[in-house]
Symmetry: C2
Subunit: 129 residues, 2 copies
Amino acid sequence: MKYCSISEASAKFNISESKLRYYEKQGLLTRIERDKAGRRLFSEDQMALLETVLCLKNTHMPISSIKQYMDWIEEGENTVELRLEMMNKHKQAVLDEISSMTDSLKGIDFKITRYSERIQNRKNGEEER
Amino acid sequence: MKYCSISEASAKFNISESKLRYYEKQGLLTRIERDKAGRRLFSEDQMALLETVLCLKNTHMPISSIKQYMDWIEEGENTVELRLEMMNKHKQAVLDEISSMTDSLKGIDFKITRYSERIQNRKNGEEER
DNA sequence: ATACGACTTAAACTAGGGTTTAAGTCAACC
DNA sequence: GGTTGACTTAAACCCTAGTTTAAGTCGTAT
């Protein structure tokens, strides 16, 4: 099995090493092995789990909830229903947030249109002088 | 012209009164009038500006940037280009964020599918006993 | 006139999410 | 064998975005 150092993991996911250490400290990443010098070694499994953590982070799940989810993964097969329920709820929350952002974007687009018109009108006015 | 009290504004936009006060204190809402007892009165113009603030908030623009934008609105016509540029940049940032969230959502959907399968397989296994 | 509810303020406090710091270990090169 | 560079830790610090608190004002109903 291939292992990644913290710098490799950091590069692969484009996330700072300090964040990786922070996530481990917060319990988002567990069972990370160490070499004899005490350096973190990320197994392929760990890298997959990390990718999941980053998906959840990226969709604004709070660290405490991600921790709960990762704890359930650790706990094993009898938490699959809980995990499914959590992911379904989170999916809906993400869809809601995206739709709310898309809505607000319409207001922003309206501003862009109006400002462009104003600038254009000013230019036309100048020509007529 | 019709004026809204803070409680009406709060109800209309479904935002707490303390946030409205906070936004005013941070300079996101300016020139809010007061009645003789010192209570805030939101004009229709103010309500429109507030809606804009909430659009920007909702799309994760930091308070300091929203303040810059509102200051430019106060400053008048000669900041229209700056405002247009800011809105264009922000629009792109929002589109990027939405697309990144949509990407991460695929990972979440994959989990949902896999968990559903595992639960289904378990049920099938039970039937066969 | 007094009690009540809605309103006000500045300032302190909280939570979330990191980053930085201080002090130290290890191993490989010169 | 000593310096260098990558790594480690716990704890302190920082910023953003609010919420809460303490103290007080106003005006209407009783």
